[in-house]
């Protein structure tokens, strides 16, 4: 058998998007992992290289390995796969690091297998890897990476992903303060019960944001990017969050909130110039502190996963 390999870009993603806790997400373009997946004569899944961050090589302890195994056990090919991971997204950054690993391996394997699976099925396999990282299966980071653009996870069981339209001039700014927030802590800080009044505000905003994406109504995006449920709690875990948000909005951002469970903070803007001004404003806040940070400006990536080399 002739060996065949593929190198892919697995993008970082922003989950929740202020009003859409646990259901909404969007895909980034300028930050993501790279992975090379190679067919091997020997059956099974082997991780042969990990660069960038220190992650387990043992297949069943690596999120990319676990999702790969889920697909592999279903496809039952008469060959195996080697995985090389060039990790660019820092684990625990809140921009879908584990999702990118989990999604990248199954996306690439599906290509090498001749695309037997659709995007929802790939999401399902990737969720097995994500569960290793976060303790429970969720898809709000996986779906935007695999589908591209904005996605809505309508339900997990059965898995239903909706691909929402992306207005043409929408850019994201991300600042990743170099602090650690455990996903478990970010989850446990949330109340189990919320007021019906706040819930109504939130679902009005979700409906309104979906409508705004369909109509490319940037002002309505601005008015919909509000989170009365999660942000009041989780923002306490991110030093200077309120300052960053205030500065981002003052610089023209349509909205600003916590990316996933944090600590990264995202903003959405109309146009790259505004997105860059928002980046400068965010940088200015953390520059005056002891906390290190990275920033990214990215067009919303409507394509999602990309094949770099084949």
């Amino acid at each position: 058998m002739i060996k065949k390999e593929i190198k892919i870009f697995s993008p970082a993603t922003v989950a929740n998007v202020s009003c859409g806790y646990d259901v909404l997400g969007f895909c980034l373009d300028t930050i993501g992992d790279e992975m090379t997946i190679r067919k091997t004569d020997k059956k099974g899944i082997v991780i042969t290289k990990i660069e960038g961050y220190d992650l387990p090589f043992e297949t069943i302890k690596n999120v990319a390995g676990v999702s790969a195994l889920a697909l592999y056990d279903d496809a039952k090919p008469d060959y195996g796969f080697e995985i090389e991971i060039f990790k660019k997204i820092k684990p625990g950054s809140g921009i879908g690091s584990s999702s990118a690993s989990a999604s990248g391996s199954v996306f690439a394997m599906n290509e090498l297998l001749g695309r037997p699976y659709n995007k929802t099925q790939l999401t399902n396999f990737a969720m097995k890897g994500e569960a290793l990282a976060s303790g429970c299966e969720h898809a709000d980071n996986i779906a935007p990476g695999i589908f591209g653009g904005f996605t809505l996870v309508k339900s997990i069981s059965p898995l239903q992903i909706l691909q929402l339209p992306t207005p043409p001039d929408l850019y994201a700014t991300i600042i990743h303060p170099q602090i650690e927030i455990k996903t478990s802590e970010a989850r446990s800080i949330l109340p189990k019960e919320i007021s019906l009044k706040n819930a109504i505000t939130q679902w009005a905003n979700v409906g309104s944001l979906v409508h705004a994406l369909h109509t490319s109504d940037y002002e309505l995006i601005r008015r919909s990017l509000e989170d009365v449920i999660v942000e009041p709690f989780r923002s306490q875990l991110i030093p200077y969050f309120a300052n960053v948000k205030k500065m981002a909005l003052n610089s023209g951002a349509l909205g600003c909130g916590i990316s996933g469970s944090g600590p990264s903070i995202f903003a959405l803007s109309k146009g790259i110039e505004t997105a860059k001004e928002v980046e400068s404003a965010m940088k200015a806040v953390y520059s005056q502190t002891e906390i290190g940070f990275h920033t990214y400006v990215s067009k919303i990536n409507v394509e999602g996963m990309k094949i770099i080399q084949k």
Copy 2:
């Protein structure tokens, strides 16, 4: 001054639409009030005729009068208006009876004044009348009547109404069992706090329904018409609700739920044939009981208010 008058149709409406408690609504076509509004030399608002149901003639005690006064006090014309109400929608039916009265007077006055107000402003005036009936200002029945089609009340203060697209082949079936549910009771039965888990399900459904309306995806409408928050409580106030819902879904309805705060029950179907089969199925349930009922089948009314005669 030459007297000038207008006769209008003020449609019945369905609020909440299963997943969208307090924010979503749609407009009906085959049931609604008629009203004649006439310019008079004498300043002020006078209700000169009420047919159909026994409602107060005193302007400040009549919802159509109160909303009319709100507009009148803002417009300050040098003439007055007479209102004749031909009430067809039974008060307390759950299909926006008070909203139709409140909206009809301001819509007609705006026409006679030369349309100085936009639809959001009319909604605002109508909310003053609605508040007389329900004790608080809300717009989830008023907005679909004034805007037509499906609407989302993004917020009350400031008032923001979104007009959502209506798929071309969507029909509503309504059954109005002749029982009385007080709006106050329907509100007080609801919990003040809900689980975050259920809230997430609900806002996923709201987002998904808005997406489905934009894409005319009838199957997604079906999957989105679910209410895990309000229906479990309010359905207890409507005898045979579970049977009606089951029969409606078995007959091909996309979804079935409580219209507003009840007791009317609505279903949405693709195509008029299915909507009529759903009507027969709903009738069959209540025919076997002591409870009287009325049913209506209606295309979704994308126009809203209509001028009958001018």
